[in-house]
Every structure is written in structure tokens, then in C-alpha cells.
């Protein structure tokens, strides 16, 4: 077993173990911390795939900002162990568990089937490899050139920028719009009623 493999197993264990411990820990703060461990583990896996940008965004956004907010809220509300009413949520969590397991099975099936298919794209510049199979991109990663219009999947920052702002402009805008709607919604929900404060 070589170095990167060892590292892969280490970080995979870290992220999976962190995730499991997050689910099973009784105290919300411990759960949040294990989630951070898991997120950092996933980010390390991205690093092993040479996707530094993605890894760093993972740490910056999720571990660094979102989870700080989580902790902030947990600490502010001072939720103790088993704070949530487990009995009431049993049915809901059962449904959620079923859905997520189903999704996982579908994903695994898709991945394994996709891997079984003989990859018909050769190493020289096929542009839509990234869309057909998740396993295809390490091969074409070698010759990434994000210049011009031929967008290939690459871990470099430029490719990300180019992809987001040229090829996937519409999805980006839609996602941005969705976030904007959510923000406006939060502002309206958290605003005091107009009668008292006048807005």
C-alpha cells in the first residue's frame, strides 16, 4: 500500500467516523464538532484528488463559517444532551433515514454501473466526459487548459471560474436567485410585525 492510499484510508475513516459519531453523539456540541471533523476529512480527500480549490472552499465555507454559526446557535440556545424531543420526531426521522438510504443506494448503483461501462472517451480532449461518468475525469485531468471555449473539467481555479461564469451561468444565476429569495424570506420572517415598530 503506498502513501496516498494510506492517506486516503486515513481521511476516509476520519470523515466517515466523524459522520457516524456526529449522528450518535448525544450532546449537540459534540455532534457539531464531529461534523467539523467529518467536513475536514472530506476536504482532505479533495486534496488527495488534487482539488485544492474545492477542499479549501469546503473548509472555508462549511467548517469555517457554517459550523461556527451552528455552534453559535447551539451555545446561544444552550441545548443540553438530548435536547430535542426524540419521541415526537421518531416518525419524521425514520422517513428521512429511509429517503437518504434510498438515495445512497441509487447513487452507489449509478456509480458502480457507470464504472462498469467501458469508458469510451480516450485521453485526448473529450469535452463532455465530466458529464457522463464521475470516474472519467482523472484521466483527462492531465491536460487541462481552461483557455478558449473548450472547457474541460479541471481542478484549477480558472477552470472553476470559467465553468461557473460561462458554461453554467444559468444554473449559477438560478442558485443565486434561490439564495436571494431565502434571504428575503428570512428578513421578512425575522422582522417584527409592522404594527409595533413600523418596519
Amino acid at each position: 500500500m503506498s502513501g496516498p492510499d494510506l492517506l486516503f484510508y486515513f481521511f476516509a475513516t476520519l470523515s466517515l467516523g466523524g459522520g457516524l459519531l456526529m449522528v450518535f453523539s448525544r450532546h449537540p456540541v459534540s455532534a457539531a464538532l464531529f461534523m467539523i471533523v467529518s467536513l475536514v476529512g472530506v476536504a482532505s480527500l479533495f486534496v488527495l484528488l488534487d482539488a485544492f480549490f474545492l477542499a479549501i472552499l469546503q473548509v472555508l465555507v462549511y467548517a469555517g463559517a457554517v459550523m461556527v454559526l451552528f455552534l453559535f446557535i447551539i451555545m446561544l440556545l444552550d441545548v443540553g444532551p438530548g435536547g430535542a424531543k426524540a419521541s415526537r420526531l421518531k416518525f419524521l426521522s425514520g422517513v428521512a433515514g429511509l429517503i437518504s438510504v434510498g438515495l445512497l443506494v441509487i447513487l452507489l448503483l449509478d456509480l458502480s454501473l457507470g464504472a462498469m461501462e467501458p469508458s469510451d472517451c480516450s485521453a485526448d480532449g473529450c469535452e463532455d466526459c465530466s458529464e457522463t461518468s464521475a470516474f472519467a475525469w482523472p484521466e483527462i485531468r492531465e491536460e487541462t487548459a481552461a483557455n478558449g471555449n473548450s472547457l474541460v473539467f479541471s481542478p484549477s481555479v480558472k477552470a472553476f471560474g470559467f465553468g461557473l461564469l460561462a458554461k453554467y451561468m444559468l444554473p449559477l444565476q438560478v442558485a443565486g436567485f434561490l439564495l436571494l429569495a431565502a434571504m428575503v424570506g428570512v428578513i421578512i420572517l425575522s422582522r417584527k410585525s409592522t404594527g409595533e415598530e413600523g418596519g
Partner: protein, 376 residues
């Protein structure tokens, strides 16, 4: 990838460099503490620590007494004091997180320096390559990502102490960090927009690229003063320095997050705080003060040999030291903000200012790109 002697040598060298850098930053952190005490003393008409002495060095005529007067050996005594004090763990704390918190605070402070270029090395052909532990393409993002993890140390310390003042410190700190990270990131966007010329091979977010862009041209401080100002203010907030030392504020929170800490665990928090300042100053030097390059518009006067390397590192350290002094200077000049003022400065002043700054520079860069002759 099999292990072979060559690789082990490389690995060993990397580890050696890493230890050297950790040692350097820790030493600088220790001496920043001394500088803090000395400068604060001078500003208040006092003398500062001038009693600590090493047995033999003290007896060297003139130099010994001079060093003693400067308090050069004080950090040693401080460190030993932290090391040999009794370890007290209050009975009401959450043990695991209580022990973990100082480490969580220290590790990000020391990790950020791995992507920090601090000089350049010339080979026989005169080609220069930067001195850096890991030349990451997205160095600045790495720094942001890792330093954003630093808040967990404070939050954990505050929460695990199970005591109200540290808890308030932790809560304040998390809110403050999130608020100022936004302004900090936004303030750097125009800088990187300006530096990354379209079509250039240099990666847009590399710290090495940003330093070499300032070689015999203007420092980015002169080109982007607003960005530099916002970044500096956000840096003060992120390093928890006065006037933004909300998590610690002695007057209203006793000692903030480290109220329940003593001896070496407190020492680690202390070192982490100063390591943050050292690394923060180094980052500001790299981005806005031209790194190891001499002066704006003047090419480096030193030769392209190892002498130049050493002088460049020295110049970089001198700039960093000045910024550390600036941190201390500000601390002993400006009183602390109230907590709501901190929030309002972050969200209603700095963030809009950073956005306006970004828009202005986007327009400017676009306009410059349209007129090819004036490309920066």
C-alpha cells in the same frame, strides 16, 4: 508512489523546514510579547522589563547590560513561568474540550504560515524561486480557510469552561469572526483582480504571484489603499487585538475565554494570539507591502545570490516587525469598541465599503482591459 531514499530525504527536509519555521514564528511570537510590554511601557512613560538576565551573558561588558535593559531574556523567563506553574483544572469544566481548546487555537495559527512566501532563492543561473513551505495555487484562500478554524479554539474554551464570562467571550468571538471574515475576503478580491492580468500564466490567487507583481512597481498599498485599510481593520478583528478584543475584554468579561485557564494552557492561548499577529503581519506584508521586494518602483538593490536571499528575508522580516509594532501601537492608543459598535462597524460600514471598493475596481479593471495600451 513508493518510498525511496530520495523521497525520504525530501520529506525530511520538508519536516526540517517546517520545524524551523514553527520555531521562527514561535520565537517571534515570544518576542512580540516582549515588544508589547516594552512598547506599552515606553508609551506610558515607563521602562518595561529590564531585570531578567542569563548568568554568563549578563557579565559581558556593555552588551550584557544593554541586552538586560532591553529585556531580551524576558520571554525565556515568561515561558518557564508558564511551564512550571501549577496546573489547575477547575472542577466544573468539560474536561475533553477544556484540554483540546488551547491546541485547537494554536494549530491554525501555526498552519497558515505554510503557504506564506518569505523570500526568494537564486540558483546558479540566476533564476529565482520563492522560499515557501507549500506553494499553493490558492494560497490566500488556504489562509482564510485555516484561520477561520482558529475561532473554534476560543469558542470551545469559552463553552467548555462552563462559566458565564468565558462563555460570553466565546459567543462574541464567533459572531465577530464571521462578521469580519466577509469584509476581509471582499477587501482582497479587487487586489487579486488587479494582479491577475488576463492571459497570464500566474494563478490568480497565489501569494507568490502577488509578491512578484509588486517587484519594481508600486506596492499594492498605494494602488489599493481602501482594500488595505479594510483588510487591516479586519485583520485586527480576526486576531482579536484591541480595539476588537471582544472575546477577551478584561474590563467586562474578566479574561474572556481564558478566564478559567492557567499555567501552560493559558500560555498556549497567549502564544497562539501572538502567533496570529505575527502571521497576520506577514500576510499583510506579502499582499500590500511588496513582500521581500525593496521599495515601490525601485528594483531590489541586493545581488541575485545568497546574500540577496538573506537580505530579502531580512527586509521581509523588518516589514513584518514594523507591522507587529503597528499592532501594538494601535493597541495602546485606541480604547476598545463596545460590542454592538463592533458589529455595526463590520456589517454596516466595512462590508458596504468593501463592496463599493470591489465594484469600483471591477469597473476600472474592465476599462483598463478595454484599452490595451494601459494594461496594468
Amino acid at each position: 508512489m513508493e518510498f525511496n531514499p530520495e523521497m525520504l530525504l525530501q520529506l525530511g527536509l520538508k519536516v526540517l523546514f517546517a520545524f524551523t519555521m514553527v520555531g521562527a514564528v514561535m520565537t517571534m511570537a515570544g518576542y512580540s510579547v516582549l515588544a508589547e510590554r516594552k512598547v506599552s511601557a515606553w508609551m506610558q512613560g515607563r521602562v518595561g522589563p529590564n531585570r531578567t538576565a542569563l548568568p554568563f551573558v549578563e557579565n559581558i561588558p556593555f552588551i550584557g547590560s544593554f541586552l538586560k535593559g532591553l529585556g531580551i531574556f524576558q520571554p525565556l523567563a515568561d515561558g518557564l513561568k508558564f511551564l512550571f506553574k501549577e496546573e489547575i483544572v477547575p472542577g466544573h469544566v468539560n474536561k475533553v474540550y477544556y484540554y483540546m481548546a488551547p491546541l485547537v487555537a494554536l494549530v491554525p495559527a501555526l498552519t497558515t504560515m505554510t503557504v506564506l512566501p518569505f523570500g526568494q532563492y537564486y540558483d546558479e543561473a540566476g533564476n529565482s524561486s520563492p522560499l515557501i513551505l507549500a506553494n499553493l495555487e490558492v494560497g490566500i484562500l488556504f489562509i482564510f480557510a485555516v484561520s477561520s478554524l482558529g475561532v473554534y479554539g476560543i469558542v470551545l474554551a469559552g463553552w467548555s469552561s462552563n462559566s458565564k464570562y468565558p462563555f460570553l467571550g466565546g459567543i462574541r468571538s464567533s459572531a465577530q469572526m464571521i462578521s469580519y471574515e466577509l469584509a476581509m475576503g471582499l477587501s482582497l478580491l479587487p487586489v487579486f483582480l488587479w494582479v491577475s492580468v488576463p492571459g497570464s500564466e500566474a494563478s490568480a490567487l497565489s501569494l507568490v504571484g502577488i509578491v512578484s507583481s509588486q517587484n519594481d512597481s508600486a506596492w499594492l498599498l498605494l494602488i489599493q489603499p481602501v482594500s488595505a485599510l479594510i483588510f487591516l481593520i479586519a485583520l485586527f478583528a480576526e486576531t482579536n487585538r484591541l480595539p476588537f478584543d471582544m472575546p477577551e475584554s478584561e474590563t467586562d468579561l474578566v479574561g474572556g475565554f481564558h478566564t478559567e485557564y492557567g499555567s501552560f494552557k493559558f500560555g498556549i492561548f497567549f502564544v497562539a494570539e501572538y502567533a496570529h499577529i505575527v502571521v497576520g503581519s506577514a500576510i499583510f506584508t506579502t499582499i500590500f507591502l511588496g513582500g521581500w521586494h525593496f521599495l515601490p518602483w525601485i528594483a531590489d538593490p541586493w545581488p541575485a545570490t545568497w546574500v540577496g536571499t538573506l537580505l530579502g528575508i531580512g527586509w521581509f522580516l523588518a516589514k513584518t516587525a514594523f507591522l507587529i509594532f503597528f499592532f501594538i501601537w494601535i493597541r495602546w492608543t485606541i480604547p476598545r469598541f463596545r460590542y454592538d459598535q463592533v458589529m455595526s462597524i463590520g456589517w454596516t460600514k466595512l462590508l458596504p465599503l468593501a463592496l463599493i471598493n470591489l465594484i469600483v475596481y471591477v469597473l476600472l479593471v474592465t476599462w483598463l482591459d478595454q484599452t490595451p495600451s494601459a494594461t496594468p
